[in-house]
């Protein structure tokens, strides 16, 4: 089957690595998320990663945890509202792919009250909202659920985006090749999301190995806080993901963070393309 997201990435890759900023849906409110996302796209972002807030985000550091808490405290917070937020971004900027970041339980059980096939219901809603891929940090590639997800998501043309880490074995990278689509989200350093002052030196060789084993573009995430760090992985990364930085700005400035978020986006884009 054609991998629409991968095609998009490979086509754009000619101009330099892609930039995919992350936003938690609903932080500080849903209207701001749409404005932030559109602002980022206009400042040069190539894709948007939209986080589904979760009560227990075990792969995230304190900044994104706090963002998820703020999002869930909104009076209009609901599962449906998250999909609506994605749809609004998609309708405003239809050419730019949006991918979801979600923990496993909302994806597999989020619609359990409304449907006998909650995974299908989730993917159908996501497809209607224009979502092109989903990253699920707590879904291991060798579990039956990953197979199930793959099977159903192909029908909706939504990519199953897997993560790799510094200690991912060659055997496992082969698993990712089988059922991975779109790109691989490479976790550059041990631990959870959050800004780090330095990236480990082995990142480059690791990312090369991941690309060779999986045959997919490789995006680097976890720990990016400055455009010059993006510059260091430019030669090996097909894309760079930045998340905590925006939510630190939102924590400080609320809806007024728009300008700072757009400036940072432009700076990262410049570092990657320049």
């Amino acid at each position: 089957m054609m991998d629409k997201l991968k095609e998009y990435i490979l086509k754009k890759r000619a101009q330099g690595p892609l930039y995919m900023p992350y936003l938690t849906a609903g932080d500080p409110d849903f209207a701001s998320t749409v404005r932030f996302a559109c602002g980022m796209i206009d400042a040069g972002a190539d894709l948007i990663e939209l986080g589904i807030p979760f009560s227990d985000p075990t792969a995230d550091g304190p900044v994104i945890q706090a963002a998820m808490v703020r999002a869930m405290e909104n009076a209009d917070f609901s599962f449906e509202r998250i999909f609506q937020c994605a749809r609004e971004i998609h309708e405003a900027r239809p050419d730019v792919p949006i991918v979801f970041l979600s923990y496993m339980n909302p994806v597999f059980r989020g619609f359990a009250h409304k449907s006998d096939r909650p995974l299908e219901a989730f993917l159908a809603e996501a497809a209607r909202a224009g979502i092109q891929g989903i990253v699920i940090p707590d879904l291991p590639a060798d579990q039956p659920e990953a197979n199930e997800f793959f099977r159903v998501s192909e029908r909706f043309q939504i990519a199953q985006i897997f993560m790799s880490a510094p200690n991912t074995s060659p055997d496992r990278l082969n698993d990712l090749r089988k059922h991975g689509r779109g790109f691989i989200y490479h976790v550059t350093s041990y631990g959870v999301t959050g800004e780090r002052s330095e990236l480990p030196p082995e990142v480059k060789t690791q990312m090369k190995a991941v690309r060779e084993s999986t045959g997919l573009p490789v995006f680097a995430g976890f720990g990016f806080s400055r455009p010059d760090q993006a510059d260091t992985v430019k030669a090996v990364a097909d894309g760079v993901i930045v998340g905590s930085l925006h939510h630190r700005l939102i924590q400080e400035k609320g809806p007024g963070a728009l300008e700072a978020i757009c400036e940072s986006t432009a700076a990262f884009v410049k570092a990657l393309r320049g």
Binding site: S55, D56, A59, G61, M72, N105, A112, D138, N167
Partner: protein, 370 residues
Amino acid sequence: MPAILELEEVYFKVRSKKRFQKKWEQLQRDYIGRPSRLTYAARLSDEWGAQIYLKREDLNHTGAHKINNAIGQALLALEMGKERIIAETGAGQHGVATATAAAHFGLKCTVYMGSEDVRRQKLNCYRMKLLGAEVIPVTSGTSTLKDATNEAMRDWARNVRNTHYIIGSAIGPHPFPIIVADFQSVIGKESRKQMKKGPGLPHAVIACVGGGSNAIGIFHGFLKDDVDLYGVEAGGRSDDPGENSASITFGEVGYFHGTKSLFIQKEGGQIQGVHSVSAGLDYPGVGPEHAYLAKTGRVKYVRVRDDRALECFQEVSRLEGIIPALESAHALAFARELARDAGKKARILVNLSGRGDKDVAEAASILGME
């Protein structure tokens, strides 16, 4: 992932090795103080109307069943060459057990504990520090056991190269539920032998269930016998969402903390914050083996509310001279109920999973005894 694959490989390699078993048995005997005693509770039997037997896990070193697993997994950490162990803790018993194992083997130790639990389990917090462990209060989410588990998982992801995460309950990703059940099944093995040699096999076995480690430990001794098994969940203040932590009764199939099991959930797959007067039962899910045993019907799961557990906490202290942990008081409260209809000759075995010293201050404040 590689960390749990390594753990699986090492565990299944060493668990049948003579050298490992000998070391484990020697530690159980000389350090933990096993076998733990079986006590016939004469006055409770009189009062409640059946023959009540108590498996005395409260008499273990550090005062609860948690030490069985902590020492066992610390041995695995040594096998894997890890120099640091971490743990989550609710009531603090697993944290104390892990800090104890760390001190005994000369390992570095960090324990994550919800700030609400740090408040209600101060004594255990001091104990861990005295044992040389670093205690990190967790303020995210509901500031209880599930949040401490989140934080321990984050630490493990960061420090996976030199650190082993000793999960304290029969939860988490494979192979943790199996490892914990194996190390805790000594409770069931011993009590089966003790009952058989003494009064005869029990008619019913009762244990409290949070994540479910003490229950799975004692149940493993009796799964193949014609013995009724009861797991007692925390009924909390009421049946309303957020007011209890009875995850088998109110939970639904879900994915959390690396395992597929029953979890109390809200709309959209969010995990529900839960409540129990006892910090050790205050968890929104249950180990996958319990979910299975509930489905097959081999174990019946019931619930006991906060007030009845507190009543029993006092009654058992007064009648037997044993202060039970608030967790174990849930199991005892159900034993009292069961005894009423079981008849004078019925033998009921209760797993007294821990002692209640840690709960005295909190209970005194709730009961207005200060």
